[in-house]
Symmetry: C2
Subunit: 216 residues, 2 copies
DNA sequence: GCTGCGGATAATGTATACGATATCCGAATC
DNA sequence: GATTCGGATATCGTATACATTATCCGCAGC
């Protein structure tokens, strides 16, 4: 299991990503590399590699000699991300349900259990566990490129969910949907998986729209 | 136009990407960072940032303390990439045809002209111009995330096209298809754009399949 | 002859150092 | 008072240096 050996820059990707997703890094103003590196106890070199990766993920943008900036949110982007998920995620999850091995099914089950627990405890980093669960439903499709794209899309959508929906009690309702979805997935009922996944995405999007349209 | 100011690491992304796409970098063995950096007249720092970006693009993979490797090709990946393009590209091009400004239409026209010229001269870097043309047809959709994903998919598919199709005369035939497609795009004939784009992708995929299935 | 150990060598990954670029701010001019 | 210029300061981006880790290869043991 050499997957557990990871260099600094890859650890920093997750650390900084989490800060961005939780809104701890101000948008549209440059990330001070020396300051952040010092705060995290590292040098700029691995930090910059992490920032470059996060730019590729779509969380940051950069300007030459001016540095990296957190990208601002927009309703257009939210709509686009959810439209893409709708096009890709139901079919991929259905395919994964078909071809998942016992081991992968166990992993998905464990992941959902953890997500449940963390949600009920209102613990930190619910978003990351939510993402892990969805990915566990997708990875067994053996479609690496598609799964990778969907992972990116989840990361992007998480910013909107955390900002607009997490403050409300959306998480609990999502857990209901997760359970139903997971049971269909386990039963390899591909039609239900597709439909439930579609509904899960659509309902989240509609919750988001309600939050986005009137206030801001 | 400060877009023209670019730091070393971003220039290196394009340089190294081009080498990977043309098969100049051996797959599955580590990229020697010191050697490559010296050859390019830079240090490892910007090179590693470039390699990290290329890993996010899906061209490289990395192992901690062992470095970056060019990912090997597989028929599964080729099928997957083309399946994704089929799902996303026709609709996006159609949408872009609708909303393209005069300026964007001019840009697309110029890009096609350049591509034609370079193809007939059998010049270097046809692939990059091919990608530029397709992107010029997609960008006016104003769907940044989708366009970005499609750009990545084009980069991934280019490896297969260059390796298996470019040696043959596929480029000329593709140019015919490009012209038809572009005319429908200019005419904002969205139905034709969708259908021609679909055909263009399907036909390239079928050419690829013919090359992949018998020999290897 | 094959396998496992251990030191020498090579390569990766990160900290430090520094030149280049941008930003800030006060003074001079209109 | 508003604007432009120019020097001081801060920040970015990259080269150099070095610690850590992996790889290679000869030798001992079975």
């Amino acid at each position: 299991m050499s997957l557990l050996v990871r260099n600094l820059s890859e650890q920093l990707v997750e650390l900084v990503r989490e800060r961005i997703l939780t809104g701890q890094v101000a948008a549209d103003l440059p990330i001070r590399q020396d300051a952040l590196a010092a705060e995290l106890g590292v040098s700029k070199i691995p930090l910059r590699e992490a920032l470059a990766r996060l730019e590729q993920e779509g969380l940051l943008r950069s300007q030459a000699n001016r540095g990296f900036f957190v990208r601002s949110l927009s309703t257009e982007e939210a709509e686009e991300v959810y439209a893409l998920r709708l096009k890709l995620e139901p079919a991929t999850a259905a395919r994964a349900a078909q071809s998942a091995t016992d081991e992968e099914r166990k992993l998905a089950s464990d992941t959902l259990e953890t997500l449940d627990r963390v949600t009920n405890e209102h613990g930190e980093g619910v978003g990351a566990f939510n993402r892990a669960f969805h990915l566990a439903l997708l990875r067994p499709s053996r479609q690496a490129v598609t799964t990778n794209i969907l992972e990116r899309l989840h990361i992007l959508s998480e910013r909107y969910v955390r900002k607009h929906l997490e403050p409300l009690g959306r998480d609990e309702r999502a857990n209901e949907e997760h359970l139903q979805l997971f049971q269909a997935w386990l039963a390899r009922d591909t039609d239900s998986v597709e439909e439930l996944m579609r509904l899960h995405i659509v309902q989240t999007l509609e919750d988001l729209r309600r939050q986005l349209s009137p206030s801001r």
